[in-house]
């Protein structure tokens, strides 16, 4: 099969593949059990009862905004219609150079306020605090620019809720999303963070800050990302609920116990993976200090977000994600394989290294090695083809099961054409897209090793407006 390759190399690769793919099977099984139990628990649940509850935990939404004059009104109006009792919405104007603050001031009749609050985490100077006279639950923090993590920290200090929900400025949360997402905090006292499902909003019919008709994009790039997100959330994160808790909560839609985040020092500024770093830190701190440390994922609350539509922007995003992953895993490397850190150190951390960090590198090495091997006659081409078909076929099966899970649990695509498109994108994902994703991941790791901390630029189409270049961060 492979001439000239030491036997132990071939067996190591095979063992690694067997372990990783066996883990995916276990994860899938765990996800199925979790989803079934969850569906049974929430059957006709009367969530609206929470709206009249005097013991529901107070919740603060933290919405950083930087140069969002074109979209901030729609975003804030959408937040104001969220169903939750005692909801506080904090928009943090992170030193915008445009008219973001003026737009908010005019539209919501903002008046200056002077709360006596304790500064507990590091953030740039706050220039002013405002409350809306029309909507008393809306607060606006005006501060000097410091980046997303810095803005969230300022919001954390000001917030009065027991729970805080960190979100991206362009995330659209479904009206009952918070009522669904708060459930784990009512069920267990050791919960420190909860994540919800992120879905792709591209091509969806959005009106008044709501996705009224979900549609699968007809273009391959955003369409394949729909499949990717379904797999990551319904399959991956649901499964981790059963296997010791999640290590990631999306920065676009995550709910946290405020005092735990403050005790952990808030978000760190010097990483591009600040959301994952916070989770790792919270879990680790829970083990070290005996506090809450469980991170759960709830599959039914949904937030919609726009995904990149060009290879350039998508590449930057994936490169940044992998840089963040590498950074966080390196920062917290001393939890690895230590019994003191329970399932975090003994299971979650090593598995993340093996199944998230390394696979892109090994895949590209494998492909390049195979090409060279076939070229020099050291590798039998038909063997390689069979091997590749098995590996990619396995990936296809996992994708198909993810789509089935979506269909059986929380379906959002009622049209036949959307389902056909999902099957098409599911099939095409492994041909080209997967390899590109691996290349971007490797680029991210290389950049990380070189010390690159830049966020890059995200081109947004906007849900109702023409495309514009909006720099996310300027560090």
């Amino acid at each position: 099969m492979i001439v000239g390759l030491p036997w132990w190399v071939a067996w190591t690769v095979l063992l690694y593949l067997a372990l990783v793919n066996s883990f995916y099977l276990v994860l899938l099984g765990a996800a199925c059990v979790e989803l079934r139990t969850h569906k049974r628990r929430i059957w006709h649940e009367r969530r609206e009862r929470l709206l009249g509850s005097r013991v529901a935990p107070r919740l603060s939404m933290l919405a950083p905004a930087f140069n969002e004059e074109a979209t901030v009104l729609e975003s804030v109006r959408s937040l104001l219609t969220l169903s939750y009792p005692s909801l506080e919405i904090i928009v943090i104007n992170d030193g915008s150079g445009d008219a973001t603050l003026d737009v908010l001031r005019r539209e919501f009749d903002l008046a200056p306020i002077h709360p006596i609050y304790r500064r507990q985490v590091e953030h740039a100077h706050v220039r002013g605090l405002y409350r809306s006279r029309q909507k008393p639950g809306l607060l606006v923090v005006d501060k000097v620019n410091g980046g997303k993590a810095d803005a969230l920290n300022a919001g954390l200090d000001i917030a009065s809720g027991e729970l805080v929900c960190a979100m991206d400025a362009d995330t659209l949360i479904e009206p009952d999303g918070l009522l669904r997402m708060v459930r784990p905090f009512l069920t267990r006292e050791d919960i420190v963070a909860v994540g919800g499902t992120i879905r792709v909003a591209n091509d969806c019919d959005v009106r008044g800050g709501r996705v009224v008709h979900a549609r699968v994009p007809t273009r391959p790039l955003p369409g394949i990302q729909v499949v990717e997100y379904l797999r990551a959330f319904l399959f991956g994160r649901c499964g981790w609920n059963r296997l010791g808790g999640n290590l990631i909560v999306s920065g676009a839609f995550g709910l946290f116990r405020r005092d735990a985040v403050l005790d952990a020092g808030g978000y760190v500024h010097d990483t591009v993976g600040e959301d994952m770093e916070l989770i790792a830190h919270l879990r680790r701190r829970g083990y070290e200090h005996g506090g809450p440390r469980r991170v759960e994922f709830v599959p039914d609350p949904v937030a919609w977000t726009e995904v990149p539509e060009t290879l350039r922007v998508l590449g930057r995003q994936r490169d940044r994600w992998h840089r963040g992953l590498a950074d966080v895993l390196w920062r917290h490397r001393d939890v690895a394989l230590r019994p003191r850190y329970g399932s975090l150190g003994l299971f979650a951390y090593p598995v993340f290294v093996l199944t998230e960090l390394l696979p892109p590198v090994l895949e590209i090495i494998g492909l390049v090695g195979a090409a060279v091997g076939i070229a020099v006659g050291a590798l039998d081409a038909s063997f390689f083809l069979t091997f590749a078909l098995v590996v990619y076929g396995y990936g296809l099966v996992l994708n198909a099961i993810s789509l089935m899970l979506e269909e059986l649990t929380f379906p959002r695509y009622p049209r036949l054409v959307d389902r056909v498109l999902l099957v098409l994108w599911m099939t095409l994902e492994n041909i080209g897209y997967r390899q590109l994703r691996s290349l971007w991941a490797i680029r991210g790791i290389v950049k990380y090793l070189r010390g690159d901390r830049a966020w890059g630029t995200m081109t947004r189409g906007g849900f109702a407006l023409a495309p514009s270049e909006i720099p996310l961060e300027a560090r």
Binding site: H44, S53, R54, V55, L186, R188
Partner: protein
């Protein structure tokens, strides 16, 4: 009728998720007086919690007593549902709660005091006053909250004793309570707390002083010249507030 009888049958199923469906359905239909109370003893926490939520519509004394017993439930979800239902029930809960407060301990006692604070009924004052000397600082703080919401001159004097509590939580709660009670005679006892090592205590004392009107404002002005920089800073922040800012806004 068919739906109700099916829901009642589900309530006796061996499968927890069927029992859960049965309780939910009966709750939606406004029925279940014969079968759901039994599920307040169910082994499954989701079922117990749902039965507790159903109980918010039942004024039966036996159900209220069982809800109060469930304040000791080991499951967080059950205790949440029980607290919510007890608060929705309101008046029928007051006397049974007042009888139970002296004998509860641990988590159940803390949960009961949270309910007592929300109900703020005068009949709960005496049991809460008796708990101001409890060994658990969290209980002392919660009892202080209850007393602060209910009021009374004698209550103010008892609460003021907690201003020198060794734990910061009761000290802060006592300061807040005295602010709510508006007992200006305790203003002089609040002033030293502006130098407290705990920020929450300093803030609570400062807000309480501001809420006491002229006597409190005078003491805050004097605190501007305090040798302790934290006391002076807290006084300054409070005095710089516009007069229209209320104590409710400050929390």
């Amino acid at each position: 009728a068919g739906l109700i009888s099916r829901a009642e049958r589900w309530c006796t199923s061996r499968r927890w998720w069927r029992r859960l469906r049965g309780v939910r359905l009966l709750g939606l239909l406004g029925r279940g007086d014969d079968v759901v109370p039994r599920l307040l003893h169910d082994a499954n926490p989701d079922v117990r919690a749902e039965a507790a939520a159903w109980a918010a519509g039942s004024r039966s004394p036996a159900v209220v007593e069982r809800l109060l017993e469930l304040l000791e439930d080991p499951e967080t979800l059950c205790r949440f549902a029980v607290k919510d239902s007890l608060l929705r029930l309101g008046e029928p809960v007051v006397d049974p709660l007042a009888r139970r407060l002296p004998i509860l301990e641990g988590v159940a006692l803390r949960e009961a005091l949270t309910i007592a604070a929300a109900l703020a009924e005068p009949r709960l004052r005496d049991p809460a006053l008796a708990l101001l000397g409890h060994r658990d600082p969290a209980v002392r703080a919660l009892a202080s909250d209850v007393v602060g919401r209910i009021g009374g001159v004698a209550a103010a004097e008892r609460v003021a004793e907690l201003l020198s509590d060794p734990d910061p939580a009761p000290r802060a709660a006592a300061a807040r309570a005295l602010g709510h009670l508006g007992h200006w005679r305790t203003a002089a006892q609040l002033t030293p707390l502006l130098r407290d090592p705990a920020w929450d205590v300093r803030r609570a004392a400062g807000v309480a002083l501001r809420g006491l009107g002229a006597p409190g404002t005078l003491l805050l002005r004097r605190a501007l010249a305090d040798a302790d920089p934290f006391a002076a800073d807290m006084a300054r922040q409070l005095l710089e507030l516009p007069p229209a800012v209320t104590s409710e806004e400050l929390g």
